[in-house]
Symmetry: none
DNA sequence: GTGGTCTAGACCACC
DNA sequence: GTGGTCTAGACCACG
């Protein structure tokens, strides 16, 4: 359950946090009743402001993924896993669809698109390592 | 050269305008020396704020796609087509980079990502035909 | 559409703001497409922090009551009125549920509770007239 | 003297405990000189934090309902019953008044309010059984 | 001008 | 210790 935040990828930080919690729930890393890291702890770990974490957690509450346990923390709800599982791939599909649509508008063929994604994959892998 | 604007697709309106001009140039719909519609006219046609069109045209001037013709309007520059054709790929790269970054956060491996893009490509092709 | 805020009535300020907007929509004081006061303006008028207003408006967006009009402001959505009229009852239901739960803890029977509510209804009616 | 705790009804748990002790005293379930369960025992029975019970008992001491008996525990004071009897209905009245006031703001008529409370009563009864 | 995001720091109730 | 709320002030993109 180690999150990584990219502050410059266009997606709001609180949104990145919320997503990664959802993905952890979907993957089983967080199960029903588990407590998520405290606002302050996660903020410290990710080197971001506690309010930003709080906002992510608030969003997860309204999405029915987390619920408060008074004076204790925030725990994963019963139906959370099911709710989260759909989202993982769905999000990426959306992005890819957008990219493909824009590529089509620019008259870029599928073969060229495949080359581009291979180049970008290679680029990101070299960056990670 | 009929543009369509989607005010809620996440992309800034001025950006959508600028792109579609660039695509028109890249595709040959607008050739060297052609005049683009006046700010007021295009704003009226697209039902958007003239400032927004002005900003798009300003961006296109900065990018060397358009140039002012004194007392006449804005025309497509000589090197514009070539320049726009390169831009074409740049935007897609950006999108793909974003998708890859998000996929990594969702713990989606490169192989799975390749599968997804193949699925989405197939999907878009079937939709076109 | 004049709001009044009571900072010490136990209900969060942002919640009071959100409710009063909802009630205004439900009552027809704000119609589809109307722009709500800007974050800064309302904050000034109510003498509260702009972030607090922003939070109320954000809640109203996730509730589907408001939507952003880029660079312009926030407008009332199409289905908002209907949605708000439903919310109206929902809020009261919540309150009643709370009262019933407390009554049960005090071992107050349903019949006694009915009597109490009749008394209080009579009391409020006499007060109004 | 079996208490029931609803951790999500908006009322603080220690407050729920304190109230139910008061109601037990008012109803005669606890008489002058009776010892209340120890902090640890009650905490175990209700599956809540001992600190929470301790806080409830502290409040009851401040309210003059309980007093310490050295080396023994906490016992019900002499004047406690009379003191507690007034409170039972008072709290519910407060809640109902609040609900009625909010209903009025939302333009919900008395008749509709009666329907709502009947529905909620039915709902809570079905839930109990 | 508009909303959106983030940071910083404070206070509160609750466990 | 926990989350919830509020304030203050900054920066950004957009129209």
């Amino acid at each position: 359950m180690s999150f990584n935040i990219d502050p410059n990828n266009g997606v709001a930080i609180y949104e990145q946090v919320a997503r990664q919690v959802k993905f952890a729930v979907a993957a089983g890393g967080l199960e029903t009743g588990d407590l998520v890291p405290s606002v302050r702890e996660l903020a410290r770990d990710l080197a971001i402001n506690p309010n930003t974490v709080a906002r992510a957690y608030r969003e997860l509450q309204t999405d029915g993924v987390l619920e408060t346990v008074r004076g204790t923390g925030l725990s994963v709800t019963r139906g959370a896993r099911k709710r989260c599982q759909g989202e993982r791939v769905k999000l990426i599909r959306q992005r890819l669809r957008q990219a493909i649509s824009e590529a089509a508008q620019s008259q870029i063929a599928a073969s060229e698109l495949r080359e581009l994604i291979e180049e970008e994959l290679a680029r990101s892998e070299s960056k990670e390592s």
